[in-house]
């Protein structure tokens, strides 16, 4: 049969955002593919050069609607690295707790998104319902459901309350019970397993060379997590370990994310126990010194990095964002080539699409 190129996107249910996967098909088999991005490009890196350092925090929130907290966090870490600020101990713990809450919320949205991709609407409703609990926690912590504007350069905006900590513990207890339901729905469902197991192999050597990070890398058996190998904030004091699966297929990537949600619950419980009392914020200088700052952290999608150059004024000279999904998407052809057209949504859904941070 003659080969032909097909556009999957930019308006396609598989894409979860605006991007285009061009695939070359031979009958039902994908023989070549090329992702096309840029539909959501807003010139973020140019925009921030016109704004002062505190003004960029809410803009960093809007890089990714799924995990906005982690983006403002990595921005503040980079600027603190540039200004050589030391954050109070309690603020570090609060940041870690908020990070892990965001990770759970983001993974729940991913779980909700892949359900309809694989033909199961129930898991969509379940995961969105539980995500709402975490949105409520964020709302009572900082007043917003999705774009929090909660970190500050030098700490966090406000302290937690005892009532919030009580609600948090209750939510975690409740959520752990619900996790069992998700696994009953997905792991014990033969149709799901058949559509995930053995699909889209990505060897560890390929994953490392192509710059794939985060759950997709750990699904290929590489034990690397920025929280463990380049620890920021207080992760080295907490009792946890990275979740790794050796199978290299779509099901392994799914398992890593499910295990990470459990691990996040464990991290939050441990952090709540070890959190000291004290101030939550120090006052940063208005003008950043000349020099460079770099910070990276474990975003729900992989390794996010910001590189900031200060020139002695109140505005950054240059702010570069390394988006984890940007790089993972460039590795998509390795995963997609050779599979069937019907498997493409399952493969691309499993690496957790977020176009806001990719196109910037």
């Amino acid at each position: 049969m003659a080969k032909m190129w097909i556009n999957m996107g930019p308006q396609h249910p598989m894409t979860h955002g605006l991007w285009n996967l061009r695939i070359e098909v031979d009958g039902e088999t994908v023989t070549n593919s090329e992702p096309v991005i840029g539909y959501l490009h807003r010139g973020w890196e140019k925009m921030v050069e016109d704004r002062t350092y505190p003004q960029i925090i809410p803009m960093a929130d809007r890089l990714c609607y799924g995990s906005s907290y982690t983006w403002s966090h990595v921005y503040c870490l980079a600027v603190e690295d540039l200004m050589e600020l030391e954050v109070p101990e309690r603020a570090k713990y609060i940041r870690v707790i908020a990070d892990e809450l965001q990770r759970i919320a983001s993974h729940l949205m991913w779980l909700a998104a892949i359900g309809p991709d694989l033909g199961n609407l129930t898991i969509f409703l379940y995961a969105m319902r539980e995500r709402e609990l975490f949105m409520d926690l964020f709302q009572s912590l900082c007043g917003a459901r999705m774009t929090y504007n909660y970190t500050r350069i030098g700490g966090v905006r406000n302290d937690t309350t005892p009532e919030w900590e009580r609600d948090l513990v209750r939510t975690l207890d409740f959520f752990e019970k619900r996790m069992v339901e998700y696994e009953d729905l997905v792991d014990r469902n033969v149709v799901f397993r058949m559509r995930m197991e053995g699909l889209a192999p990505l060897s560890a050597a390929d994953a490392i060379n192509l710059g794939v990070t985060g759950p997709s890398l750990r699904g290929s058996g590489v034990d690397f997590d920025v929280r463990q190998d380049d620890p920021y904030e207080v992760y080295e004091n907490l009792d946890w370990h990275p979740c790794v699966q050796p199978d290299c297929d779509v099901y392994a990537r799914y398992r890593v994310r499910m295990d990470e949600m459990r691990m996040s619950v464990q991290i939050i419980r441990d952090a709540l126990k070890k959190m000291p009392k004290g101030p939550v914020r120090v006052k940063p200088p208005r003008y950043a010194p000349e020099g460079t700052g770099m910070a990276r952290m474990e975003d729900p999608r992989g390794e996010s990095l910001m590189y900031v150059i200060g020139d002695g004024t109140e505005k950054p000279f240059r702010l570069k964002v390394r988006s984890p999904f940007f790089v993972t998407l460039s590795a998509a052809p390795v995963m997609v080539n050779g599979c069937k057209v019907a498997d493409v949504p399952s493969i691309m859904g499993m690496i957790d699409v977020c176009m806001g941070e990719t196109d910037r």
């Binding site: 840029g38 010139g43 140019k46 490392i208 034990d223 699966q245 990095l305 590189y307 998407l329």
Partner: protein, 159 residues
């Protein structure tokens, strides 16, 4: 549960610095005096960046290219590489200066596939040419765009 078998011995920061200084002259690679845990900062000459990266990858276990950023310093362009070693747990930051009228540098995509789209983005935004790149085309902007928007002489209109 699982371990990565193809990684060999890990090096400390001092060992990595020592190996780099013994391999390269101070004109080619200069290690900066800026100390932070798990970080190395250095500058490199534009002709020796590919040799340095090959050395880092083959001899010092730097497996992962985290980021490639373009910077317009007005009097020159810079390319900043962040390269990570999973085995050593070190990130090295390499700054390369390029002349403003002829910004050309060797591509490191043949070494790390992860640098591919970063270099395309640096070309897209700054017009920096990466030699031997497999496909140096616009990535975020349209193909027929005639300008390089992240250059400092391109005014955005802004605030």
């Amino acid at each position: 549960m699982t371990e990565v078998t193809y990684l060999t011995d890990a090096f400390t920061i001092d060992q990595v610095k020592e190996k780099i200084t013994s391999e390269f002259s101070s004109d080619e690679v200069k290690i900066l005096d800026k100390n932070k845990p798990r970080r190395i900062y250095c500058t490199a000459d534009k002709d020796s960046i590919l040799k340095l990266c090959t050395f880092l990858k083959d001899a010092l276990n730097f497996e992962h290219c985290s980021c490639v950023s373009g910077v317009d310093r007005i009097d020159c362009f810079q390319v900043v590489y962040h390269i990570t070693s999973y085995a050593n747990r070190i990130t090295i930051e390499i700054v390369v200066d390029l002349p403003h009228d002829n910004p050309e540098v060797d591509s490191i995509t043949p070494l790390w596939g992860g640098a591919n789209w970063h270099e395309r983005e640096a070309y897209d935004m700054f017009g920096i040419i990466f030699k031997n790149h497999p496909k140096l085309a616009r990535i975020l902007l349209d193909e027929d765009v005639q300008f390089f928007p992240m250059r400092k002489d391109f005014k955005s209109g802004g605030l």
